[in-house]
Structure formats: C-alpha cells, structure tokens
Symmetry: D3
Subunit: 143 residues, 6 copies
C-alpha cells in the first residue's frame, strides 16, 4: 500500500487584530503589542492543505487536485478572502484569530468534505508572513 | 562616473479597503468588488527602495545601507506597519490607498531624507501580493 | 503628471521544443542540445505584464487589475496553458518558440486590448525557469 | 544517536500528459481536463530528496552532498530532464505520470543507490507547480 | 488537546570552512573539495525553529512569537551573525561546522530557553543554500 | 528591429569583510559595523546578467543561453565561488568588496566576452541577501 501525500496551496488576503474582548484595551496592547491595533491590520495568508491516500490505479490520483482546490475555495477561501477575520466570518465567531486558531478552524471546515473523496486530511499549514507559520495535524503529534 | 543603483527591501502588514467616500456603498462594490469590503481586508506589503549614486572611494558605498534601512523604517514602516491605511496614517489622509497611490506617497515621504545622504531616490516598488506590484520613478518614464 | 507602472503576474504550463524545421534533426541537436528533444519537454512559464499610466483621481487605478488579468487570461493564458507551443497555438504558427520570440508575440497579442483601457503596455517579462528570463519593451531600448 | 535529515533540491523540465490509454479520448478529457491535451504540456519540476543518518564524527556529514547530488542526477535528472515522461523514460513505461506516481518511481530509482552510502532515503518531495506538490515516504505514514 | 506547531524563520550571514584539523590540507581538499578553501567562504543561512503546544484559551498562542524570536536572536543569531563559524563562536569550539552539526548545536542552545515558556522545541531546520538544507528533531526519527 | 533582453541567473558562495586597510580597526568597525568582523562573514550571492539584442531569425536566440552561462561561469563564478573576496581573487585586488564595487568589477570581467557573441551586456544585478541588492548598467543611468 503506497501512501502518498498531496498538497495544494491557496491564498487569501484578510484583516484581523489580536484582541481579547474580555480584557481592557491596555491589557490587549500589553499582551499583543501592535497586533492589537484598534483599526486592524492584515496579511496575505497562504494555506497549504495535505491529503494522504493511495494513488488510484486508473488515474494515478489520490484525489482530483481540481476538486481538492474547489473544496478549499468553497469552504475556506470564499469565506475568508477580503474579509475581516474578527467580524465577517461565521465559523470564526468568538474565536481569537491567531494563526494557531485559524489552522484548527480551517481543519474543521475541510475535514469531512475532503475525506468524502478518497483522501484523508492530515495537515493544514498556514503562512501568515514569510517568517511566521503554523502546522496543524488534527491534534496529532507526529514529532 | 560609475553610477550604481542600490536597493533595499522592507515589509509592513496593514489593513485597507478600496473605497471612494464620495460614492454610495453600492457603487464602491461595483467598481472595487471585494476590495471594497466594509470591514477591511489586508496585505503583507513589500517595499523595495532604489537609490542611485557613485560608490564612495573609501567605503565602496552609495550610502550606508543601515542608514537607508533606518530612514525607510522611520518614515514608512513605522507609520504603516500594523495600521489601517484608510484611518491611521496622517500622510494618507484623503488619499485612496491603492498600491499606485501608496507608491507616490511613499516616494514623497522618503525623497528628501534619502537624498540628504549622497544618493538619489529613483524608484519605489511595492508588492501587494505575489501577483500584483507597482513601480514609481517619481513621475519619470524610463520606458 | 505622476506616471505609475503596474504589473500583473500570470502563469501557464506548456510543452515545446526548440527546433528549426528547415534543418536536419542532427543540426537541431547540434544547435539546441537537449532542448531539441523530438518528443518535447516543457515549462511552468511565468509572465509579468507592465502597463503605465496616471492613477485616476476617483479610483487610484491606472486600470482595473481584475480587467488587466482578464485580458491577459483571454488573449495569452487560455491559448497557451496546457498546450504545445509548436503545434497548438494559431498565433505561434511558423514561429520558433524561444522565450525571446514568445515575448514578442505575447506583446502583439496584448497591446491593443490593454491600451484600450487607459494604460499603455510597456513591458513583457517571461520567466522560463528560475534561472532564465526575458524582457521585451516593444522593441524600445530603455538601457 | 543524533539522527539528522539532509535534503537536496534538484530540478528538471519535462513534457507529459495525464492520459489513460485504456480510455477513449473523450473520457480522458472528462477525467483529466486540459491535462489530457493530446499534444502534451509540461512543467519545471523540483525534486527534494531527504536522507537521514548520524553525522560522521570526522566529517560532520550524513553523506557527502556532492555524492548525493551526483546520484540524483545520474538516476533521476538525466533520464527525465528535457524528456517526455509518457514516451521517453524506460522506468516510466506503462505508468501514468501523475506527480504521485512520479514520486513512487523516483523513490525506487534512488533507494538502493543512496542507501549504499551511509544514509537512509526517507522522503521524496516533488513540486509540479508553485501550488501543487507531493510527498512520498516510501509508503510509510508518519502522520 | 489540540496540539499546534508554530515556526519562526530567522537569518544570519556567516563565514566558515569544512576542515578537519587532524588532517593534512591535501586530505581536507580531497574530502571537502572547494568547501575546504583555506581562506573561508560563506553563506546566508536561514534557520526555521518549530515549537509545539496547545493554544492558550485567552491568547490563541502556543507562545508569544515575539518572545520566541527574541530567544532565537539572543542565543543563536547574535552569536552567529557576521561571524566565522570556525573561529568566533564559543559553543562551536572543536565542532566541524557542517550544516548537520550546526543544527544539533543550535538545538542545544535553544531547547531549555524555549521550553521554559509553554512550548516544546521539536525541530530545527537550517537552509544553507537554496538547494541544501537540514532538519533535526532532537535526535528523534519521525519518519 | 525588435530588441529583446535576456537574463541569466547564477550563484556563488563567498566570504568577505567590509574593511578599508588604510583605517584603524576601530574606524572600520565604526563605519562598517559587524560587516567589518576581523574573521570575515559570508553570503550566498546571486548574480543576474542581462544581455540585449535582436533574436536571430533561424534560432530565436539573442545568444545561446548555454554559452552565456558558460561565459559567466568561467569569468565570474569559478573565480569567486567558495572564495574569500578580499584575499583570493586577482581581479578584486585592492578593491573593497562592497556589492556596489562587485557589480562594477563583474561587468568589466564579462563585457568583452559576452559582446563577442551577438549580444550587448547591459545590466549586472547582484543580490547579497534577500533584502539588499544592486544594479549596474555600465555606468549608464536609465532612470
């Protein structure tokens, strides 16, 4: 059984701030620094989704990359692109939009849809800047 | 006279929207699409500043890159980083923050400070995403 | 008059070979080496299109980047993507598909369509690999 | 025992199509879309090979990277570069050249040669485009 | 328990040579080739540090990335940047500065400091060039 | 006459320091900071060479890129790669190896050799780090 991992990169541009509504503005600035700026800031986010499976003998595919891309676009890119992550996204309501939390929520958005097509979702990578990124394996700890 | 061009890349993360306050919300969406999202979106902006001059015989420098970086940070990165380009930046007041307009305004911010140290500012490049960028030569048209 | 240059990157994947039909196979291999491989090879091409103009006072745009992208896609990407540059592309008939020639032909494909919308096409950049690229300024020689 | 993983990136440019010869042309287009274009398309492939081992006390090496590069060039890059993956490569005969299948075949090409020099092959990564890539761990599933 | 992995990239520029002082110059050149050049060569090193943990419910953080960056800068970048890895670095004394050995030593520099702040160091990646890189998991072998 | 510009990227890794031998060590540190480190530091340099010309009707080439690459390797990469720019390179003797000066010297190394093959050398770009780069147009000032 020759398991292969396929990965698809997509991108979205969004505004956010790191801000805990239970805290005073002063405490938010103390903890989050300039990331707590009241009027928001933003990023070009890159998301890399990994699905594993055995290549189908007739297509050589784990799953159709076009379909994989369409699923990511429908359930992640459309709801997040050119949006405010604190205000505009139903599935982020009540969640502080750190990159860590984003990765967990995006996993939950994608898992059932991707796993319905012959692959198994196994990693979400989010790049917030060229220096900061996050990997989430559905809570598993491969290392 | 061996003129050389030196370039320094810096980065800032900011929120903005493309929105003409003289227009209705509907017209803004019609013209700017999702870039007019009321609650903002954002980008990881890269800025590349070019200065030309003749290398100094004792240092081999047009101007000290550390000084060049400090000037860009003081007059551009500090005022723009983790800010809202429509709301938070005095020198952008009343200016629609398209990448084109940003390039012009950043030139005006930097020109006198860079030119005071032996180089001549000659290009501002701004990368808004990996697919969209802008060059400004102070209004000159080299090609 | 504050002229700004805007640039849009698009991509296409294509097969080609460097092959002069007037020559023998041996001479083709002698001149073009492995690029003359009879059964083709291919590339992930990147194309960067530059248009210049003065930002419109009401939009801050030279021209709408979405429209610019649509024009590039209609007249360049659709005809070239997942195609054989020697066999499948009407506007490349009889033209040896070197990167140099590609740049000239792509300029001719785009010029009238882009110039009809307020900008002036002024550069085509094509990246064939991470080490080889070409710039074409419509025959002009800015340097 | 301080196991370290070393990685070497190499590149090749090739033509291919996704095409199952047992199917009609229509079914191929239905399943593979534009990737089934009869006259081929192509890519700049990047391959990243990972070998693990314990650094030798006298050299600090798992294995000589120059030797590792030479092995990858002899058994993978030479046979694939500037070739047609469906027609020109003996070890791909009868194999549909999806990126998934390529990764498996490249592993088989390299394993014995790399493992003869003190390292253990443990991952093949292939990047087909900037958005699509594949990892293969010899069938193992680390996550 | 939703474990997430956060990664921070930092950079340093250094000189080094691959040279075993117990060997003759001739044997060094025989084993290390041009990397043994007596007068040194150098690199722009990139280091990517990975820490895992469960996001804190009040901040969404594994650990503050600003703090993580400060720790990497204090214990790795400051001692290595613009230095000679064979001559200038106390914690590299007697160690042949191959990328493999660098990764091990950097792990030892960082582990206790990073683990004191709620995360667990789990990977050091060093990129020596765009083609050569190394991963170290503290001696663990996840695959 | 359809002039096209072709560009070739090559790379070398070298040690250097910014140091004026006529000055005291203290003054060197005052002017050049950590770049004056007595025991050197180093970089992965990228060099991008631009040649212009009219594509030949039988080959579509300005000049053979393989030949262009061979010339750059013979006259620039071989003498500089894995070397100390202050000590090991005859054509840098007496020249302070700033990136600006490197660009001028590399132009002088390449001009006659490249211009003998149908193209005209018109730009040397050197990237010293991902944030610092230099362009040299043979002393011309296109903007």
């Amino acid at each position: 059984m020759k398991t292969v991992y396929i990965e698809r990169r997509e991108r979205f541009n969004a505004a956010h701030k790191l801000y805990n509504n239970k805290w005073s503005p002063e405490k938010n600035v103390e903890v989050f620094g300039k990331c707590a700026n009241a009027n928001w800031h933003g990023h070009n986010y890159e998301i890399i989704v990994t699905v594993k499976g055995v290549p189908h003998p007739e297509t050589g595919f784990i799953m159709d990359l076009k379909l994989m891309s369409d699923i990511i676009k429908e359930f992640v890119i459309e709801p997040l692109d050119h949006k405010n992550l604190n205000l505009d996204v139903p599935f982020l309501e009540g969640i502080l939009p750190s990159t860590e939390n984003l990765a967990i929520v995006i996993w939950d958005q994608l898992e059932s849809h991707l796993n319905a097509h012959g692959g198994i979702l196994c990693r979400i990578r989010i790049l917030e800047t060229e220096n900061n990124f996050v990997d989430y394996y559905g809570g598993h700890e491969p290392f």
